[in-house]
């Protein structure tokens, strides 16, 4: 019987530690307000999507749900890129819109996006092999919440102006290091548009002709992978990046937003992100 003692003990131990029974699945009460004494990280959600991808509306709903619970704590971009079966226009079957962009295609190839809906949350877990950086949309709330609790390494402030008469966007992005950094920092400036009414395949295989596409990636103002702004720096160092851009008439400027983020070129991780709508500049 001595031989049976140790295994029996292990069984009992495992059985007692192995289960969390949940009586109340939904979190109740109001979330504590974010700590305003520190600059916390905002999450960048890059949602690789397609108007002929039937599960992609689920990911869009998840983004809206996250924003309703954690307003302003995440910045979403819907990048229409990936398999032609999901993203290419198909006028014959009622999907005439071309949402794809050259920059979006480059991002899709670089991050090896091969299924949809797939997303990256601040490009966490990027590796040279595999696709650990691609996260299913069901994991996005947890990841956003996790990132939101972290103190940011830098602060981004956007100041500028949008002139509707000539559609000129002029702005300066001030990136301030909040701690000493030895990172290779890159800045991206993206233009996204919401409120685009166009057909979308739905999860039940039906076509919604009046689907509203939000956060659609339109273009990058400084290439798909942005521009280098610093290679390390001391606490408090400020890097100003100024630019101007004529917003194409094909885009409805009042529905457009400027998305700005800084990432570490070695890990691809997005350290901080901000957004501003053009009509609020």
């Amino acid at each position: 019987m001595k031989n049976l003692f140790a295994p029996s003990l292990i069984v009992l131990l495992l059985a007692t530690i192995g289960c969390d029974y949940i009586d109340q699945p939904l979190k109740t009460g109001v979330l504590p307000p974010p700590d305003t004494t520190q600059v916390l990280r905002k999450a960048l959600i890059e949602d690789f999507t397609g108007h002929r991808c039937k599960n992609c509306p689920k990911a869009s709903k998840e983004i809206a749900r996250i924003d309703s619970l954690l307003p302003g704590r995440s910045i979403a971009v819907a990048i229409h890129a990936g398999s032609d079966a999901f993203t290419a226009p198909d006028p014959t079957n009622g999907y005439p819109t071309e949402f794809r962009t050259p920059e979006g295609n480059l991002l899709q190839q670089f991050f090896r996006v091969s299924f949809q809906p797939a997303g990256m949350v601040s490009r966490l877990d990027y590796t040279a092999s595999g696709v650990a950086q691609l996260k299913y949309y069901t994991s996005w709330p947890s990841l956003v919440s996790q990132i939101n609790q972290e103190v940011a390494e830098l602060k981004i402030e956007i100041n500028g102006d949008y002139e509707p008469s000539n559609r000129l966007l002029s702005a300066t992005v001030q990136s301030t290091l909040l701690s000493q950094s030895n990172r290779d920092l890159y800045l991206c400036l993206w233009l996204c548009e919401s409120g685009i009414v166009a057909p979308q395949l739905q999860p039940d295989d039906t076509r919604d002709p009046d689907y509203v596409h939000n956060n659609v990636f339109r273009t990058s103002l400084n290439s798909a992978f942005g521009q280098q702004i610093a290679s390390g720096g001391a606490t408090g160092e400020q890097i100003n990046t100024s630019f101007s851009y004529f917003v194409p008439s094909a885009y409805t400027a009042e529905n457009c937003k400027l998305v700005v983020f800084v990432y570490d070129n070695a890990t691809q991780e997005v350290l901080q992100a901000e957004e501003v709508s053009l009509d609020s500049l």
Binding site: P7, G18, P25, K27, N55, A88, V131, S139, S145
Partner: protein, 564 residues
């Protein structure tokens, strides 16, 4: 002479140095793809790389010592880039599997990577299915302990592989099995054979969700029983899992459950096997957000027959991990020589029936829809079948030697296939039960009849010709298809094959395509080379009830396998 004899004796007395043994295997698959405007008009499946290749090598070192046995091994994998249809997450290269194992004092210890299974796998199975691109190997510690003969314990702890990294969840498990015939002297000689076992597996994954109170520790337990008497054997396993909200089940908090029972009986000239399975919300992964084939901790065995003939295999059944009720009955008869059916040389007859249905689901209350996230999802009762037929397969196979040199097999298949759930060439599938219950036409059932005639003609010593004539007939999906295969073998080195599949009945006239394929293979020692060139039509490739879509392509492929 005396000196020579003495020398031989001395040599015989000198112990051989024990360096142990090293063995391994290697495989490479490479495909050069051709743009085929007829097959893939918009080029969406044509890879930018044009050539895709992947390979791996296993190395295993073993050494037996006076105190026990030691084994060490590793596997190198390289995907540059994964071939079409293979999970793209495998892109890259690296040593993905390494382990050290030793056995001593009735204890078997493994550190590093390992595969393990408890019972039939309902609560734990880690395994590799290379053809699918499934590898959920553990990386951790495994202990196996046999305190006395007939009593077996296993314990595992670690994390699972997902592509080139590991999943976020920690997997813990223990299994105990008793074999009465080995444990008790009084049972050693009995014709009754009895064994039973208990297993428990749990996972830990941090939860940080702003909406739900997610369980960080999720456990599942199972009990099993095996009984045998002469030609009869019965195995049954029952499992339960606590609340495990996940991407698979739409974040419902309902506990899961499942059972599988198999009965086998063999007698002279007759065999029977039956299986019944009921699965309710038994997806169990070490990452609640994982998808595709990633990080499965358990295995839900299929209760449908796996078809190897090309045309019937276009309509395979994939286990529905969120719930299904399945039944399979299989009879086989050896037909005696000189009988009406067996003819002069005898033959065999096989009958197989299998089906799979949804499970009955009722709302938990009037305000909650079925499957609603953040609730218990639905109510069900054990063994209560739902209204949706996922799959049914009836097939009959008759094989007989028509002469000393010629053997023929004819097989008939009748398949009912729910395209809305399972997917097909013309339906992306993946609908949930509720959509079909609200509108049964969305099941988009395909009704398929298929006949395969296979012949094997031994032309002369070492030379044989195998052929298959296949016909698949359906008014749904891609319509009628015919196939002819000729395969000439020169044992033991060469084989040559030519086949054509013609989708002559496709409702879309532009898709009434031929899919020709030429193959040749050469074996030398333990190495094999195979070349394929031609078209492959879109299909669904399944192993063990788990399936992946293979896109249509035109390619020239080379496969090399070697062992040492």
């Amino acid at each position: 002479m005396m000196a020579a004899a003495s020398s031989l004796k001395l040599q015989a007395q000198t112990p051989e140095p024990n360096y142990g043994s090293l063995h391994g295997n290697f495989q490479f698959d490479g495909y050069l793809y051709f743009k085929d405007d007829e097959l893939d008009p918009d080029g969406s499946d044509y890879p930018d790389e044009q050539f895709l290749g992947q390979g791996f090598a296993n190395l295993i070192y073993q050494r037996t010592q006076s105190w026990g046995e030691i084994t060490a091994g590793l596997r190198y994998e390289n995907y540059q880039n994964p071939i079409l249809g293979y999970p793209p997450g495998f892109v890259g290269e690296g040593i993905t599997y390494r382990f050290l194992q030793w056995k001593r004092d009735r204890l078997d210890i493994t550190v590093g990577n390992f595969y393990e299974q408890f019972g039939s796998g309902l609560v734990h199975r880690t395994y590799e299915e290379r053809l699918l691109g499934l590898d959920n190997a553990m990386d951790g510690i495994r202990l196996k302990y046999t305190p006395i003969d007939g009593l077996y314990f296993k314990g595992i702890l670690g994390r699972q592989r997902v592509y080139f990294t590991k999943g976020p969840g920690v997997v813990r498990g223990i299994d105990a099995e008793v074999n009465l015939n080995e444990l008790l002297d009084s049972w050693a000689e009995k014709k009754n054979r009895l064994n039973f076992g208990l297993s428990f597996t749990s996972k830990y994954q941090e939860a940080n969700d702003p909406f739900y109170n997610l369980p960080e520790n999720v456990g599942a337990g199972a009990a099993r029983l095996g009984y045998g008497f002469k030609g009869l054997s019965l195995n049954t396993e029952w499992a339960m899992k606590i609340n495990d909200p996940s991407a698979d089940n739409g974040y419902i908090f309902k506990p899961g459950g499942g059972s599988i029972t198999t009965v086998n009986y063999t007698a002279k000239g007759f065999g029977f096997s039956g299986a019944y399975k009921f699965i309710d919300n038994m997806s169990f992964r070490s990452d609640r957000n994982a998808g595709q084939f990633e990080l499965f901790m358990n295995y839900l065995p299929p209760t449908t027959k796996f078809h190897t003939y090309a045309l019937p295999s276009l309509y395979p059944y994939a286990t529905q991990i969120n719930g299904e009720s399945g039944l399979q009955l299989e009879f086989s008869f050896q037909l005696p020589k000189e009988s009406w059916l067996g003819g002069k040389r005898g033959g065999s007859l096989g009958l197989n029936y299998s089906d799979a249905h949804s499970i009955a689901k009722e709302p938990v209350d009037a305000e909650t829809s079925i499957g609603q996230s953040g609730t218990d999802g639905y109510q069900t009762q054990w063994f209560k079948q739902g209204d949706i037929r996922y799959f049914q397969d009836i097939n009959v196979s008759y094989a007989r030697s028509l002469s000393k040199n010629f053997k023929a097999t004819i097989t008939y298949f009748n398949i009912e296939y729910n395209q809305g759930i399972l997917g097909s060439a013309t339906n992306s599938g993946g609908l949930n039960d509720t959509v079909i219950l609200n509108d049964p036409s969305r099941a988009d059932m395909a009704y398929i009849n298929a006949v395969v005639f296979e012949g094997l003609w031994k032309i002369k010593p070492k030379h044989s010709l195998r052929f298959e004539v296949q016909g698949l007939f359906t008014e749904q999906d891609r319509g009628d298809i015919a196939m002819l295969l000729l395969e000439y073998s020169i044992a033991p080195n060469w084989f040559f094959a030519i086949q054509d599949i013609w989708n002559y009945g496709n409702a879309d006239e532009s898709r009434r395509l031929h899919y020709p394929l030429l193959s040749a293979g050469y074996n030398t020692g333990t190495t094999r080379f195979q070349l394929n060139m031609g078209r492959q039509q879109q299909g669904i490739f399944c192993v063990g009830g788990i399936c992946r879509v293979v896109p249509a392509s035109t390619s020239m492929g080379l496969t090399i396998t070697s062992t040492f």
